[in-house]
């Protein structure tokens, strides 16, 4: 490579700077692995996965959240002192060369510690006679730990490229770590509360797709997998790809900022007063936006506003304290607090703008009213997830239709819904009595969404219409298996009960045999007959298939006369138990 892009000398100097940390973290890992292996051998514990993940891979977690950021901090710490900053910027290398050479030393340092730790952990497992699954899992953890370490290190590299003091660097690293989560949290809740049609629960899943930083942050998943003991989560490729891409983006951003970073930023909080103000505003907005979100949600909720107020006040207070304390500590001048006061107006203005946008969009979306003759179609949905008490397949089928969305055909029902909306607009969206339901109303090219309490009589009408539909009959005859048809049942478990003795039969094969027989019998049955059978044979039936669904507790009765094959399969399963 040419000298103006990468330098071997600088690369080696970077490694010299990391030497101490590399030795420390490698030694700590080896000591941990050896000590823990001995302890596990003495107490006869598990080498493999316990409730807290793979025991011997715990040093990875420490390295991801402490080691790698410390490596990055050490590598670029010269930017925080005038003497060292001058020294590095006086070197006969371009800024690109300095950044890329030191970055490669940082990556090498992280790779070296991961490799040494990995070797120690693999050796320990090899001595323990661990199986192929454990070895595979350790390999996955090692690789994920490496990518996660690069991710956390890249955050520090990015913040060090734009700041000139340790304090600002730490604060910015925290902000970079949490700000994407804050923004997506605020955005998701904003969409969910004001434009439900665009949310994950609605038609377009805009908010759902914005959950990416929440669920695909690899270091976070690694942390949860240790705490929650769900190591298999790490095998999914998307979080790995997402985190690697974000890491690269952070490093590219850091590279660009480093190239244009002024050497005189050293020992200063920010390159300029304007950038310092931007730091303060972002920091304050990270807290205040959530506060504003809660405030508007409280206002939308009407009578519940007081439930939200304590959270709002706490978050606004934290935002203000963070804003001024940051200025005080980073600039070390009490007077600067007063100088920073006018810019706090921007934080207030941004929050007012956000509140206005939130409330405005919500009001616009929810003040929609229409006349029946202008309506092309109305689709009714269950509001949010239906969590009512469900005991029969008839209820489940109805709920499934509502969850999927049911297009209303009855002219009379459409009229009633329009009237209900008009009533709600006039008296406030919560002034109707009855259940809460959501309607997507297509009127011309636009589809609007309204969620409102409807009159019991209207719900009865909707229910009656749904129960006449083919969709309802389809769901009525759908007997979910253990591995198929998870949606919309999302079943968790299954058992067979005999009323008196409460015998349970578990096991995939036995249960599947019963379900197979039941499905075959129900498939050919008349839907109306099946419905009346379900209505007349409830939970008090002697033998039944029992589900735990997201709707509630569901039981399908089995009888010698109507479902003989399923009944005998169930009896066989119970007797063999």
């Amino acid at each position: 490579m040419k000298k103006n892009i990468w330098s071997k000398g600088l690369y080696l100097e970077g490694l010299r700077r990391l030497r101490g940390l590399m030795i420390t973290f490698s030694a700590l890992t080896i000591v941990f692995v050896v000590a823990f292996s001995v302890i596990l051998r003495i107490v006869g514990g598990l080498y493999g996965r316990g409730t807290s993940g793979l025991y011997l891979t715990w040093p990875y977690l420490i390295f991801v959240f402490i080691g790698a950021p410390a490596f990055a901090f050490k590598t670029f710490s010269f930017l925080n002192k005038r003497g060292s900053s001058d020294f590095f910027h006086a070197l006969p290398y371009t800024r690109s060369c300095i950044f890329l050479s030191l970055l490669t030393s940082l990556i090498t340092g992280i790779a070296a510690v991961t490799a040494i730790s990995g070797a120690a952990i693999f050796t320990a497992y090899a001595f323990s006679g661990a199986g192929a699954d454990t070895v595979r899992e350790v390999a996955i953890f090692t690789f994920c730990s490496f990518v996660s370490s690069l991710f956390t290190a890249s955050i520090v590299v990015l913040s060090s490229s734009v700041s000139g003091s340790v304090f600002t660097e730490l604060v910015l690293s925290g902000v970079i770590l949490i700000f994407p989560q804050v923004i997506t949290y605020v955005f998701n809740n904003f969409v969910y509360s004001s434009v439900y049609t665009a949310s994950g629960g609605g038609q377009y899943n805009l908010a759902g797709s914005m959950n990416v930083p929440d669920f695909n942050n690899l270091p976070l998943r690694l942390f949860l997998s240790y705490v929650g003991g769900s190591a298999e989560d790490m095998t999914e490729p998307f979080p790995l790809i997402y985190s690697a891409v974000v890491c690269v983006l952070y490093l590219v951003g850091a590279y660009l900022l480093f190239r244009f970073r002024k050497s005189e930023t050293a020992e200063r909080s920010a390159p300029s007063l304007k950038v310092q103000a931007v730091f303060r505003v972002i920091l304050a907005c990270a807290f205040s936006f959530i506060g504003t979100l809660e405030l508007i949600r409280g206002i939308i909720d009407g009578s519940y506003v007081y439930n939200y107020l304590p959270t709002v006040i706490i978050l606004y207070t934290i935002a203000a304290i963070a804003y001024f304390i940051f200025e005080l500590i980073s600039t070390k001048g009490k007077r600067n607090i007063f100088k920073a006061l006018p810019v706090f107006g921007i934080v207030i203005a941004l929050n007012i703008a956000f509140a206005g946008l939130f409330y405005g969009v919500h009001s616009y979306e929810y003040s929609f009213g229409t006349k029946p003759e202008q309506v092309n179609s109305i689709t009714v949905y269950a509001y949010n997830s239906y969590s009512g008490s469900v005991k029969s397949l008839t209820d489940t089928a109805y709920c499934a239709c509502l969850r999927e969305g049911y297009k209303i055909n009855g002219e009379d029902t459409v009229n009633d819904i329009c009237n209900n909306i008009a009533y709600a607009n006039e008296h406030g969206s919560r002034s109707s009595a009855g259940n809460y339901m959501r309607f997507n109303i297509k009127s011309g090219p636009m589809t609007k969404q309204r969620s409102l309490n409807i009159l019991t009589s209207l719900e009865t009408k909707i229910k009656a219409e749904i129960k006449q539909s083919e969709k309802y009959k389809k769901y009525l005859k759908l007997i979910p298996s253990q591995i198929e048809d998870k949606d919309p049942y999302e079943f968790v478990g299954i058992s067979l009960n005999e009323k008196d003795v409460k015998k349970n039969a578990y096991g995939y094969e036995k249960i599947e045999k019963v379900l197979y027989a039941l499905r075959a019998e129900v498939k050919d049955a008349d839907a109306d007959e099946w419905e009346s059978y379900l209505k007349s044979n409830g939970a008090e039936n002697d033998v039944y298939v029992q589900y735990y669904t997201s709707f509630g507790y569901l039981k399908i009765p089995l009888s010698e006369t109507y479902t003989p094959n399923a009944y005998s399969a169930a009896m066989e399963a119970l007797e063999k138990n």
Binding site: G9, R16, G83, D86, F87, A90, L91, P92, Y93, L273
Partner: protein, 302 residues
């Protein structure tokens, strides 16, 4: 030759240097003096390629300094607060220098350290302030750079070491044709070592010339007469500053010594003392013309 053309540098919208034009000739020692906050360190960092000028151009032998590794490889810079890549020892720092500067002479570094009485195996952190500066100077001199920049580096050295390092710098200039630029508050320091003097004030160059020229062209004169004297009696002399203490006039005069002496003797003084102007006196005079003076304490001494 290092050339600065219309160089301007600001921090937080405050101009620290404004439209600086300067030429630093190869093979000479430049001293940069100036009032506090005049921009001496900033100027040095600009020509070392550490800071980027907001406006203007800095070149070394017609090649830009900024982001130019070829030029920066010919520069050694010692800041006011020296930085060592390794605090373990001078030797360890020298190993880093060897990696970072291709022209770094490792053996020269160790030899210079030994000659200066510094243990190159001892931790730099255990060194005194003066010893740290010596170590920084040694590392910089071992770079064998064409341009040597020292930011108030001599201020913390004892007189013996100061002389030693001044000699070492002179040796670099004479033997290798190196160019040195030294900033200092102490004009006495610069007087001994510099060929050229640059005075900065409020971000501008207010004076630039050879030190010898100052010594041979500027004089401080104390002169007294038996009777009263008029302005016309000093006609033909370029008097830059004049004050009177009782009956003794104190004059700062520019001109050739022989010519000045002859003209003053012609005025038949009762007392005449002609002394060369020290750099410090010249500095005070030069800044006085810029309105920068030490005002007497209000109310005087009680």
């Amino acid at each position: 030759m290092i050339t600065l053309k219309n160089v301007t540098k600001s921090f937080d919208n405050k101009a620290v240097l404004s439209d600086i034009d300067l030429e630093i000739k190869n093979g000479s020692v430049y001293g940069i003096a100036g009032s506090n906050g005049a921009g001496k360190s900033t100027l040095l960092r600009l020509i070392a390629g550490i800071y980027k000028p907001d406006k203007g151009e800095i070149t070394a032998d017609k090649a830009p300094v900024w982001e130019n590794p070829a030029v920066k490889g010919r520069i050694a810079f010692v800041p006011e607060e020296p930085y060592f890549p390794s605090v373990v020892s001078i030797k360890s720092s020298a190993e880093s220098y060897k990696l970072l500067y291709p022209s770094f002479d490792f053996d020269k570094c160790l030899t210079l350290a030994m000659d200066s009485g510094l243990d190159y195996r001892k931790p730099v952190s255990s060194f005194s302030k003066g010893m740290k500066r010596q170590a920084a100077l040694i590392l910089a001199l071992s770079q064998n750079a064409d341009y040597l920049f020292f930011d108030e580096t001599f201020d913390g050295l004892d007189p013996v070491m100061r002389t030693r390092f001044k000699n070492l710098i002179n040796e670099e200039v004479i033997s290798r044709g190196a160019t040195a630029v030294v900033t200092s508050h102490s004009l006495r320091e610069l007087e001994d070592v510099c060929d050229e003097l640059v005075i900065l004030h409020n971000g501008s160059v207010v004076y630039e010339n050879a030190v010898d020229m100052i010594k041979s062209s500027y004089f401080k004169v104390q002169i007294a007469y038996d009777g009263p004297k008029r302005e016309e009696d000093f006609e033909g002399l370029e008097i830059l500053d004049k004050s009177k203490n009782n009956s003794v006039f104190e004059l700062i005069i520019k001109g050739g010594r022989a010519e000045v002496t002859e003209k003053l003797r012609a005025t038949e003084p009762a007392l005449l003392d002609i002394m060369p102007l020290s750099l410090e006196e010249f500095f005070v005079y030069e800044l006085k013309t810029q309105g920068y003076t030490a005002e007497p304490v209000k109310g005087g001494l009680r």
